[in-house]
């Protein structure tokens, strides 16, 4: 793949991250090598016929809990780290523009 500054910025933007010039360059410098190493994954013979493993094969208890009422955390606790709030709401910059 031909990595460009614009492509790297696009990957970053999808994550709501901005890159400084030097950070973008760092990613560009690393990416050829990263892709080379990533390609090792694809070089395993017959890899496409293997079932993907998403988590360790440990036997979890998959029983659903009872649908009982439980006391949850008070709203004021949940919001205590928010920078701006009003009663049970978080205040953010206006979303709908004039």
């Amino acid at each position: 793949m031909n990595f460009t500054k614009e492509l790297v910025d696009d990957f970053a933007l999808k994550l709501l991250i901005g890159l400084r010039e030097e950070e973008n360059q760092m990613v560009l410098d690393e990416f050829e090598e990263i892709e080379h190493h990533m390609d090792l994954i694809c070089q395993i013979p017959n890899i496409s016929s293997v079932e993907p493993m998403t988590h360790p094969p440990v036997l979890f208890d998959e029983t659903l809990r009872e649908d009982d009422f439980v006391e949850e955390m008070p709203v004021e606790d949940v919001l205590c780290n928010a920078a701006h709030k009003n009663l049970s709401s978080v205040i953010v910059p206006k979303v709908v523009k004039e």
Binding site: L16, M38, M53, P56, A83, V90
Partner: protein
């Protein structure tokens, strides 16, 4: 069996020391350690006796800064959480409180656990207490430092690739990551959920067993936790019957001819391993070589990078500054979130997340992400086949002792990628895995790692304890009775 925790408890019982004396001494040592190593993000001014009469009553400890602690600053060593004070306790912290353990502070780590050096915290580098020009290893860097320096007998860490076991090796202590699900992760900040484990750092295998006996157990708040009520780690260590054990090492990793320019450190580490193999045989532990597909070995590091970066991309998406974290002035919500993440994340985190974004792009998903999950299965299945013949895998943890902080002084070679990353196998399969000190190379401690099959923690710890006794390693900073 040596045990700093048992020794402290005996001292309390015999009235040789009071908790207050221990706390004062601990805080003094902790401040000195903070000056020297930068091990803490938060270090308390004073601590109080516990009224809980549990198994760890008034035993002091430190907790990695990615465990939620109600009312105590918890940053995960990131600027994005530099002012975050949790409103609930992680289950591990709650269990330790219930057992009477006394927390003295929260330890520095690689930001969100995404690093193996201890050099990426928002509060600066963590320095190895045995040589401050060296890395402590990461990501549980501060936790390893405070145990190695004798500040506390145990600390809690988390391990996604080798984040408990590598710093333990670099700092000359024990690092134990139990079977996936044995310890609840409720309140542990997620990095890569399919590989994150809680682990402990101690100066002996016995102490690791003691602490895990306290913190393990099924937790309604963590659906991936498992019932282990029939597993008693300390009891099984004490009543071990010393049956013969059979371990294997991976021939392709231990063959020195596979390394184009082997360093002196590598040769000395391999020589220590050879000596250990001979000694172990005399004590009923046979260690033999087994072959492992080299394509799979070469793919370990890439598989780890691909899966963890992808999972981190999702797990760190809640860092928006809307509910927590320092907020930037902005004209709209997107701009506000972007400013927070751009300013808050270090360059390393940004690079890792971009790799995650790249492998998750529609056109790359099958090629990288799904194929990495397939490689994970092949590695885990191969390991399980080997575990049907052996009690465990044994290998050195790295090329030699702790790496320099100044990266330009370190050996960098593609040849070393497998040796330096093999412990991630323990996370791929959720296998119990422990690192113990094995001796010194050029004056620095080096570790040996033992990994066993899922839920075979008692066996893994028994083997580690027998090897520990055989090696008779002495921590240069803490002279302990054997």
């Amino acid at each position: 069996m040596k045990s700093a925790i048992k020794k402290l408890q005996e001292d309390y019982a015999a009235h040789r020391v009071t908790p207050l004396q221990v706390f004062q001494d601990t805080l003094l040592k902790a401040r000195e350690n903070q000056e020297k190593c930068n091990s803490f993000v938060t270090l308390f001014d004073h601590v109080e006796e516990s009224s809980q009469r549990g198994d760890l009553q008034n035993v002091v400890y430190a907790l990695k800064d990615n465990f939620s602690t109600k009312g105590i600053l918890t940053t995960a060593s990131s600027n994005t959480l530099s002012n975050y004070v949790p409103v609930y306790d992680a289950t591990v912290y709650q269990k330790l409180k219930d057992a009477g353990a006394v927390l003295i502070g929260k330890t520095t780590m690689d930001e969100f656990g995404l690093g193996g050096t201890g050099l990426t915290a928002h509060t600066g580098y963590v320095f190895n207490p045995l040589d401050t020009t060296r890395q402590a290893g990461g990501s549980s860097a501060g936790s390893a430092c405070v145990v190695s320096s004798g500040v506390v007998p145990f600390a809690i860490g988390s391990d996604t690739g080798d984040s408990v076991r590598k710093p333990a090796a670099y700092c000359g202590i024990v690092g134990y990551k139990p079977t996936y699900g044995l310890i609840s992760r409720y309140g542990l900040f997620a990095f890569a959920s399919s590989m994150d484990h809680v682990g402990v750092l101690t100066r002996s295998v016995y102490d690791a067993a003691m602490v895990v006996d306290v913190i393990k157990g099924k937790d309604e708040k963590d659906m991936t936790s498992i019932d282990s009520s029939s597993m008693h780690l300390v009891e099984s260590l004490v009543h071990a019957n010393h049956q013969p054990k059979k371990l294997f090492y991976i021939k392709e990793i231990m063959d020195i001819t596979k390394y184009s320019k082997p360093s002196d450190e590598l040769k000395m580490t391999f020589s220590l391993f050879e000596q250990l193999t001979k000694k172990a045989k005399e004590k009923g532990i046979s260690i033999v070589g087994e072959s492992f597909d080299e394509d799979l070995l070469r793919a370990i590091a890439s598989t780890y990078t691909c899966l963890t970066c992808a999972e981190a991309t999702s797990n760190l998406s809640n860092l928006t500054s809307i509910l927590f974290g320092p907020q930037e002035e902005a004209n709209d919500v997107n701009e506000m979130m972007m400013a927070h993440r751009t300013k808050g994340f270090s360059s390393l985190i940004k690079r890792r997340l971009i790799i995650g974004s790249y492998v998750l792009q529609k056109e790359n998903q099958e090629k990288y992400f799904i194929n990495a999950q397939r490689v994970r299965r092949l590695i885990v299945e191969k390991m399980n086949a080997l575990f049907s013949k052996y009690d465990g895998l044994i290998l050195p943890c790295s090329e030699g002792g702790a790496k320099y902080i100044d990266e330009s002084k370190n050996h960098t070679s593609d040849d070393l990628r497998i040796l330096e990353n093999h412990m991630a196998i323990g996370n791929f399969g959720g296998f119990p895995s422990i690192t113990i000190p094995c001796g010194f190379v050029k004056g620095l401690p080096v570790g040996i790692n033992i990994t066993g099959k899922v839920l075979d923690d008692c066996n893994v710890l028994e083997i580690a304890a027998r090897l520990e006794e055989m090696i008779a390693y002495q921590n240069p900073l803490v002279k302990e009775e054997m």
